[in-house]
């Protein structure tokens, strides 16, 4: 058993990345994730790694693009406005089938918004970011311990499927201290990176890392092949936590920090005689549709709770396909939903139902 230590979410993520073999970090300061960069600046030189503070988020993400193409496990981290700037490189990284890990410690938007926790980048992470037909795997930890496990798995998933993987947290999770073990859990078997630009050494044909395909048929074939891979990921990698769902008559669904608040609300609601359970998506893409379908005929209503104006709720509705009413409660602007507010929202739904 590894030793338990008290550590901040952002620093846990940085250390987990190093333990996962990441030796190349490129970043730019932005609140509320700067501890990741500061930790990397301190630790990377000690483990023979590279910490580079780039001139911009754009450059940092393109340095990751270069390092990923060169075969390294590369990481960048930022918060919402910075992720918008990284979107360009993410599209290229996906278009070149390169692995990398990008962290978004989400803050309130739009624009400069605020520096308090938010989940208003769900659309950006799961549907948007850069241009073109592509996806990223998006992982949403809800505790510091889970940050460690998911960071390790993020690098494996990226290498296995040759695509960018995002870890999405929020300011609260990044700043929160919890006792954790730096135990990465079971690791995956990974393919050789024989496609990387490492220099030919005059022993093989040159490797070319490129997303430009001028022939429409060739480009379509390439995109379709990528989407076949995405289908495989949807079938095998979607993950969700079920909490008190066995006898649930109502479902609350939430991810990340919000899911922890929802659990408190669920305990209170059950004391009041309302049987509520939780589905907590761990992968936001692929969205764990099966976890919802399983209960679509069993619960009488679903309440999606988010720190946004309602973004994940769209995917919940698609997953249950009108079989059950899906309600929404959210706070935004850096405000956090309190258990009392969730309880009230659920009571109104349950009351209206009876």
């Amino acid at each position: 058993m590894a030793e338990k230590v008290l550590v901040k979410g952002n620093e846990a993520l940085a250390e987990a990345a190093i333990l996962s073999g990441c030796r190349h970090y490129f970043g730019y300061p932005i609140t509320p994730q700067t501890e990741i960069a500061a930790y990397m600046a301190k630790r990377m030189p000690k483990v023979g790694g590279v910490f580079l503070q780039a001139e911009s988020e754009v450059a940092a993400a393109n340095m990751v693009f270069g390092a990923a193409g060169a075969g390294a496990r590369a990481l960048t981290s930022s918060s919402s406005p910075g992720i918008s700037l990284k979107a360009e490189a993410l599209s290229y990284i996906a278009g070149c089938d390169l692995p990398c890990v990008v962290v978004n410690i989400v803050r309130a938007g739009p624009g400069l918004g605020g520096i308090q926790p938010a989940q208003s980048d769900y659309y950006q992470a799961t549907k948007g970011h850069g241009h073109g037909d592509y996806q990223m795997i998006v992982l949403a930890p809800s505790s510091v311990q889970e940050i460690i496990h998911l960071t390790a798995d993020a690098f494996d998933l990226a290498d296995l499927y040759r695509m960018p993987v995002m870890i999405m947290g929020d300011g609260m999770l990044g700043q929160m201290m919890e006792p954790v073990e730096f135990d990465l859990g079971e690791r995956r078997k990974l393919p050789e990176k024989d496609w990387a630009t490492t220099g030919t050494d005059m022993k093989r044909k040159h490797n070319i890392i490129n997303s430009l395909i001028m022939n429409p048929d060739d480009l379509e074939a390439c995109v379709r092949a990528r989407y076949e891979r995405y289908e495989q990921i949807k079938a095998t990698e979607a993950r969700a936590e079920e909490y008190m769902m066995d006898d649930a008559e109502y479902m609350i669904t939430a991810y990340g920090t919000t899911a922890r608040i929802a659990k408190n609300a669920i305990v209170e609601l059950r004391k009041k005689g309302i049987k509520v359970g939780l589905i907590r998506p761990i992968t936001l893409w692929p969205f764990p549709e099966a976890a919802y379908k399983k209960y679509a005929d069993k619960v009488s209503a679903i309440l999606s709770v988010e720190m946004s104006m309602g973004q994940m709720v769209d995917d919940v509705r698609l997953a249950v396909n009108d079989k059950v009413p899906v309600h929404f409660y959210g706070r935004t602007g850096g405000n956090i939903p309190y258990p009392d507010e969730i309880i009230k929202a659920m009571e109104e739904i349950a009351g209206g139902d009876k």
């Binding site: 754009v58 340095m63 693009f65 193409g69 070149c96 220099g199 890392i209």
Partner: protein
């Protein structure tokens, strides 16, 4: 029979896509000759830009990565930090390097990033069909300066080599031209020295190559070479702008 001229080994045996009279082909060849002569094809990793030379990844036999517009120095930085023992270079045009990628270029120089940049300055955006570049000359007629570039509203051309020479991280900066045999020979010497600078671990090296774009300048290849000589060289003086390579 003695062979006196052949394709450099580092140059792929393919047809280049460039327009007739374009000097990209000459510079591609010079880079390949230098890779051959320094014996570094096997340890070279090139970064292709967005612009006319976007397909450059198909033209050199070394490993290649294609970058987003302007980001080649950042991509090269990422590669070089993973493989500090390899030779990493970018090949970029003026729109790529001096407009959309100015920040990446200047900061790579300021960091003293141990990479080599081959910078093609032909005073115009070629691939998109002849728009005003940051390097277009005052009075120069382009698609987006149809009445001639007016510095009062469209600003002045940028002398990147002089600008980059001001940075402490730049080890070797030279401007050359490929308008005549003598200058082509000088260009090759400069490119070779730039790669040698990287091999010696001296820091950032850049060679600015004044080049022609007959198609978008609306001139014959010969007229274009004359125009380069008569108009570009006076504005963009040739020569070494920075040389720290002899310092210990």
């Amino acid at each position: 029979m003695q062979q006196v001229f052949k394709k450099p080994n580092a140059l792929c045996d393919v047809n280049l896509h460039y327009c007739p009279g374009c000097t990209h082909g000459i510079v591609h060849r010079l880079v390949a000759e230098v890779l051959d002569e320094l014996g570094i094809e096997g340890k070279a990793i090139g970064v292709a830009p967005v612009g006319c030379s976007v397909f450059a990844y198909d033209y050199w036999e070394c490993d290649m990565q294609q970058a987003a517009h302007g980001r080649a120095p950042a991509v090269a930085t990422g590669i070089k930090r993973v493989h500090p023992d390899k030779v990493v270079f970018t090949y970029q045009g003026d729109g790529d390097l001096a407009s959309i990628g100015t920040a990446e270029t200047v900061h790579a120089a300021m960091r003293g990033e141990n990479i080599t940049i081959i910078f093609i300055n032909n005073a115009i955006y070629g691939m998109t069909g002849g728009q005003m570049a940051p390097t277009s000359l005052p009075g120069q007629v382009t698609q987006t300066s149809p009445y001639g570039r007016d510095p009062k509203t469209q600003g002045y051309p940028v002398r990147m080599s002089e600008m980059l020479a001001q940075t402490d991280g730049a080890a070797y900066i030279e401007r050359v031209a490929v308008d005549c045999v003598k200058n082509v020979n000088n260009a090759k010497k400069a490119i070779k020295k730039a790669f040698q600078t990287q091999l010696d671990g001296k820091g950032f090296s850049l060679v600015e190559v004044l080049s022609t774009c007959p198609t978008n300048w609306g001139k014959s290849p010969i007229e274009a070479l004359d125009w380069l000589r008569e108009n570009m060289i006076p504005y963009y003086p040739l020569g070494v702008k920075k040389d720290k390579t002899t310092e210990e």
